[in-house]
Each structure stands twice: as C-alpha cells, then as structure tokens.
C-alpha cells in the first residue's frame, strides 16, 4: 500500500514540475517520467499487458512531442491583473469540483475489493469458451470485440486526420 501511495505522489510531483517549468524540453521529459512511473504502477497493480503497452507508447509519445517542441523558453507566463483573476477563478472552480468529486468517490467500492459481476463470468469461462490463456486478450478480441472494432475505427480516423493535416498540397 505504501509503495502505491508513494508512486502516485511521485506522479503528482512530476506533473507539477511538468506544468510549472519554463523550459518546454524539460517539461516534456518530466511528462515522460510521469508516464514511466505510471507503468511501474501498472505492474504493481498486476496489469502486465497494460504496462507493456504504456511503456512503448510512452517512448513514442516522447519522440513525437520532442519533434514539435522548439528549443526556447516558454515566455508566456506574463503577470497581470487579468491572469491573477483567471487563476483565482480556476482555483475556486477546481476546489469545488474536488469537493463534490470526493463525495462521489466515497460511494465507490473499497480499494482492493472490486465489484466483479461481469468479470467473474469472463474469468470462469474465458479459457473454456475462447481457448485463450490470457484473459485480457480473450476479453479484448472475443467477448468485447465490438469495442476493439470501434477502437480500430477511431485509430484509423485519427491517423487519416493527421496525414491529411500534414499533407504537402496545402503548403501555400
């Protein structure tokens, strides 16, 4: 339990550094640090499939983000009455949001004792019905293959959009 708390607090500190530092490159690197701590947390929570995916996607996200970042300071944090006002309003909104979310999160099942009404069936019958030893793959590609089909559609659309936005014909 203590390891889990310390990992998540480390993630919170890393994201604070990422949003407050002036240099964009170090912000990207601390963001990647947060992602890598996230995959250690996944391993601690017994989710190896997710941890593998998160690790590799994290590295590629680092490459993509560094491609976009110019090597210069982020000089957009000007101080003024307007900025202070907006910061105060945002903080009040976030505190209210956190308060109501805390009340809502109290209704969740206790940590470590999940409600597994659907998943119990998957675990019991997964190996027999699909023949796949990895229950996550069985859920992904057999029990809930519609989700995967929708995911493939979203992925296709996003990649199509990125290639069309970056095409050469529109470079005038």
């Amino acid at each position: 339990m203590l390891e889990l708390y310390s990992l998540i607090i480390l993630m919170i500190l890393g994201s604070l550094v990422a949003i407050h530092t002036k240099y964009l490159l170090s912000a990207v690197i601390s963001l990647t640090l947060v992602g890598l701590i996230l995959c250690v947390t996944f391993l601690y929570l017994q989710a190896p499939d997710t941890a593998i995916t998160q690790t590799i996607v994290e590295v590629i996200a680092l490459v993509i983000l560094i491609r976009a970042v110019p090597i210069e300071k982020d000089t957009m944090g000007r101080k003024g009455a307007k900025e202070t006002f907006s910061a105060v309003v945002t903080t009040i909104f976030l505190v209210l949001f956190a308060f109501f979310a805390y009340r809502a999160l109290l209704d969740l099942p206790q940590f470590g004792f999940p409600l597994m009404r659907v998943s119990e069936g998957y675990i019991r019958e997964g190996l027999v019905k699909t023949g796949s030893a990895n229950i996550v793959t069985a859920v992904l590609l057999d029990f809930r293959a519609y989700d995967t089909l929708g995911e493939a559609t979203v992925l296709f659309t996003a990649i199509l959009g990125a290639i069309i936005v970056l095409r050469k014909a529109g470079r005038k």
């Binding site: 499939d49 993509i64 996550v136 590609l141 992925l155 990125a162 290639i163 970056l166």
Partner: protein, 152 residues
C-alpha cells in the same frame, strides 16, 4: 563518410544490430498474445518503434527505402480489412458477428484459441502501420524557417 546524414557511426552500428531483434520481439509479442502478456496492440507498436529507431538513426531516406509511407498506410488498411473480414466470416461460419468459428484446439498451446491469433496479427498490422505512417508524416513535415528550408 559517404552518408553523413543521421547520427554518428556508433549509434548507426548499434541500431543495425538492434533493429532486427526489436522486430523479432514485436512479432513474438503479437504471435503469443493469447498465451503471455501482450497482444496485437503492444506488438504492433514495438514493430513500429523498430522502424522509428531506423528513421532516427539513419535519416528519412534510408528508412523510406526500407518501408515506404504508402506501404505503411497500405499495411494499416490491410489490417483493418483483415479484421473486418474475420468478423464478417463469423456470420457465415459461426452464426453471429465476431463468432469464434475456428476450432479451439488444445489450450495453452501456440495453435489454439480459434481466430484470436489471426485477429492479433490483423490488429498488429493495423497499429504498427498506422503509427509508423503518422510518424513519417510528422518527420517529413517541415515548418518554414526550420531546418534546411528557409523562410521566405
């Protein structure tokens, strides 16, 4: 040196030995997706990351020779079509959309689990091709005033 594009000689030599191993690891993850942690999504990204390594070390031209952007986009579309064809075949052979129509085989062996390995291969092709295509598009794109192209 004939080609002084890309990174230094050390990086190039290491990548030359490393890239096939990374591709092999990705193929392993895809094919064993129903037995060990992994599957089509991480495996496809691993294969794409091997080509991304080549692109970073050798420059865009060499990587384009190995795997063209049109080829990567074609692989992505092939994967998506393959996945859909598997799903539609389920209607005719199994009775409903996405029914597992192939024989299950013996559990915990490589050739088991019906059409799940085939679907893993389809997903791996799709994810790997898509991510490499979008990475190449991002690398080739040049903002004016950056790199070789001067701002007018």
């Amino acid at each position: 040196m004939k080609d002084n594009k890309g990174m230094t000689l050390i990086v190039k030599t290491v990548i030359k030995f490393l890239a096939p191993i990374v591709i092999l690891f990705g193929v392993y993850i895809i094919l064993h997706g129903h037995l060990t942690p992994g599957g089509g999504f991480p495996g496809g990204v691993v294969v794409a990351s091997a080509f991304i390594l080549l692109t970073l070390a050798y420059g865009t031209e060499v990587a384009e020779k190995k795997m063209k952007r049109s080829l990567a986009a074609l692989l992505e579309s092939t994967g998506a079509l393959f996945f859909l064809i598997l799903a539609v075949l389920g209607i005719f052979l199994g009775g409903w959309f996405f029914s597992n129509f192939l024989p299950k085989g013996e559990p915990l062996k490589l050739l088991s689990a019906g059409f799940i390995p085939l679907a893993n291969i389809a997903i791996g092709l799709k994810v790997g091709g898509g991510i490499f295509a979008v990475f190449l598009a991002l690398v080739i794109f040049r903002v004016a005033g950056e790199g070789g192209e001067e701002q007018k």
